[in-house]
């Protein structure tokens, strides 16, 4: 019987690998950014899964609610940070893509001299 955590680990690594593969193989600059975002989602799932326990409950004190069997709140806090940082990088990259387009009229990496590698 496969466990929830195993599924989540598998999914997260699949997303990370799909995303990074896209970053390395695509030539369209926007697709590169999309790939990074896919990888980011994968990372977020990976981190959240670290804190998951079987049948875990939300770690919030509320009147009349049991305070046992809570999931680990630390990875959730880390993911919040990671999401915001990911957005900062994405916004900056996309602005850069727009500027590159304004300069060269293309978002194809193979047609921009400095982006071939």
């Amino acid at each position: 019987m496969i466990s929830t955590a195993q599924i989540l680990y598998g999914t997260s690594f699949a997303l990370i690998i799909i995303g990074l593969y896209a970053v390395l193989s695509q030539r369209n600059l926007i697709r590169i950014v999309i790939g990074l975002n896919v990888a980011d989602v994968g990372i977020n799932i990976l981190l959240v899964t670290l804190g998951y326990i079987e049948g875990g409950r939300v770690p919030i004190f509320a009147p009349g609610q049991p305070t046992t069997n809570w999931v680990d709140p630390v990875p959730a806090a880390l993911v919040l940070t990671a999401i915001v940082i990911g957005f900062g990088v994405t916004a900056l990259m996309l602005t850069l893509v727009m500027r590159l387009y304004a300069k060269y009229g293309t978002i194809d990496a193979s047609r921009i001299r400095g982006l071939k590698w």
Partner: protein, 106 residues
């Protein structure tokens, strides 16, 4: 029970990730990415991380998509009233994607 829902969403997520990365139209890739984030948020609710879910939905799904859409508009040739129609947009991006794919392992 949770396991099966998680499994279902996981399969959905991986499919969407592949679609977002390899779809022909750039516009649909962006929308699929947005949906991917939204389903990831759903996953976070299931694994008891609502704080992450609400942030992922607000930032990953909504705001990132806004910036992506702005980028799509900005990276199109001289935007005119006509080019705003979704059909036209899909065509142009589709062409771009095809021309990329035609190049073999260079």
């Amino acid at each position: 029970m949770t396991t099966w829902i998680v499994l279902f969403i996981s399969v959905l997520l991986i499919t969407m990730a592949l679609a977002a990365v390899f779809s022909r139209s750039l516009a649909s890739a962006v929308i699929i990415l947005s949906t991917l984030s939204l389903f990831a948020a759903l996953l976070f609710v299931l694994v008891a991380a609502p704080d992450v879910a609400i942030t992922e939905a607000a930032i990953g799904s909504a705001l990132t998509t806004v910036v992506f859409v702005l980028a799509l508009y900005r990276t199109k040739d001289a935007p005119s009233a006509d080019s705003r129609s979704p059909k036209n947009m899909a065509d142009e991006s589709g062409n771009a994607a095809r021309s990329v794919q035609e190049v073999p392992h260079a």
